[in-house]
């Protein structure tokens, strides 16, 4: 223990909050950038599919970024995208199997859009720009 106590600076906290709000609306990739539309298009008809797709995408982002962070020191440039895709596809497959096992009707409603999370540009971009740094 170094005995040094770190406290969050008020400015940094405000910056973090501002970053969060900006990404919710001003820089929202779906609403403003029209990026990663595939899962969004699948769920525009009702609230329940939207929530399910949102939770599935969140699960994939969190787990795949955790994995990529763990392996980031071993990543070499020529393996980057390959490992990102491999990692993301594993967690998308787990999410898809979960829906088929526990929410079969919802799995049918979402159809092929859950497996398509694998190629969602925003999730790959997140792994590239944040988790692997």
């Amino acid at each position: 223990m170094s005995g040094v106590t770190r406290t969050a600076e008020p400015g940094a906290l405000a910056d973090g909050w501002g970053y969060f709000i900006r990404n919710l609306w001003d820089e929202n990739p779906v609403f403003r950038g029209l990026l990663g539309m595939c899962p969004t298009l699948a769920v525009t008809a009702a609230v329940q599919p939207a929530l399910t797709m949102g939770l599935a995408a969140t699960f994939v982002v969190v787990c795949s970024n955790l994995m990529v962070s763990l392996m980031r020191k071993a990543l070499t440039p020529h393996l980057r995208i390959l490992m990102f895709t491999l990692t993301i596809s594993v967690f998308v497959t787990i999410a898809d199997l979960f829906l088929k096992a526990f929410l079969p009707d919802m799995s049918e409603t979402l159809g092929p859009y859950v497996p398509l999370i694998i190629v969602n540009c925003m999730i790959i971009a997140r792994a590239e720009s944040c988790a692997s740094k």
């Binding site: 008809a45 990543l75 393996l79 990692t87 497959t93 787990i94 096992a101 079969p104």
Partner: protein, 204 residues
């Protein structure tokens, strides 16, 4: 060789670990997925043959059937053990994906008893009405099996529906409606001889 492993060990290790993870996940949840599939199949059969006390499954053994999976026909029996109808699977291409149906016939193979949709990914709001529209599905109940089902637009004042084998298409989803009737007609033609043998009580 050493250079190959030095450059690719991460991919090999990742494939091994992730493969094991997926194998474990699939093995754990596969019984649930299979149970869901069977429950859906049973719901479909029961919706077509509600008066059946028991359902028997017969595997089709047609020489011309080259499909990988064995084709099964479900026979509904009443409490006395008499057949009340048959249900077979029919599959084909819809508007944007395959359509998988259960098709019911009465015990004499004279009239359809109804249909149930096992799988369809048709256009939301239009083609997916084959799954939800009671009006569309009710048209199949009582339709004659001796002749092909045909799709008509309407009925309206200019072109009223005249025959039982006419299926009025879903508005905005004519291709899906035609796909459903084509799938049923084609599959019934394929297995009609086998069904006739089953209906007459002969197994071969």
């Amino acid at each position: 060789m050493l250079e190959f492993f030095k450059r690719s060990w991460l991919v090999l290790a990742g494939a091994l670990v992730f493969g094991l993870l997926l194998a474990f996940t699939y093995t754990s949840w596969e019984p649930l997925i299979e149970a869901n599939r069977i429950a859906k199949l049973q719901r479909g059969i029961r919706s077509i043959l509600p008066q059946a006390a028991t359902i028997e499954a017969d595997t089709l053994a047609t020489a011309s059937d080259l499909r990988a999976e064995p084709q099964v026909v479900y026979r509904g029996l009443n409490a006395a053990g008499d057949p009340v109808g048959f249900v077979f699977r029919a599959e084909g291409t819809g508007f944007q994906d395959r359509i998988e149906l259960l098709v019911g016939l009465d015990a004499r193979l004279e009239r359809y008893r109804g249909i149930a949709v096992l799988f369809a990914q048709e256009t939301p709001g239009f083609g997916d009405a084959i799954r939800d529209s009671v009006i569309f599905k009710q048209q199949f109940i009582g339709a004659p099996a001796a002749e092909d089902l045909i799709v008509v637009k309407g009925p309206d004042e200019d072109r009223p529906k005249t025959d039982d084998n006419e299926i009025v298409s879903i508005t905005g989803a004519t291709i899906t409606s035609e796909a459903v009737t084509t799938i049923i007609n084609r599959r019934f033609d394929e297995i009609r001889p086998t069904l006739e043998r089953m209906a007459s009580g002969r197994t071969r």
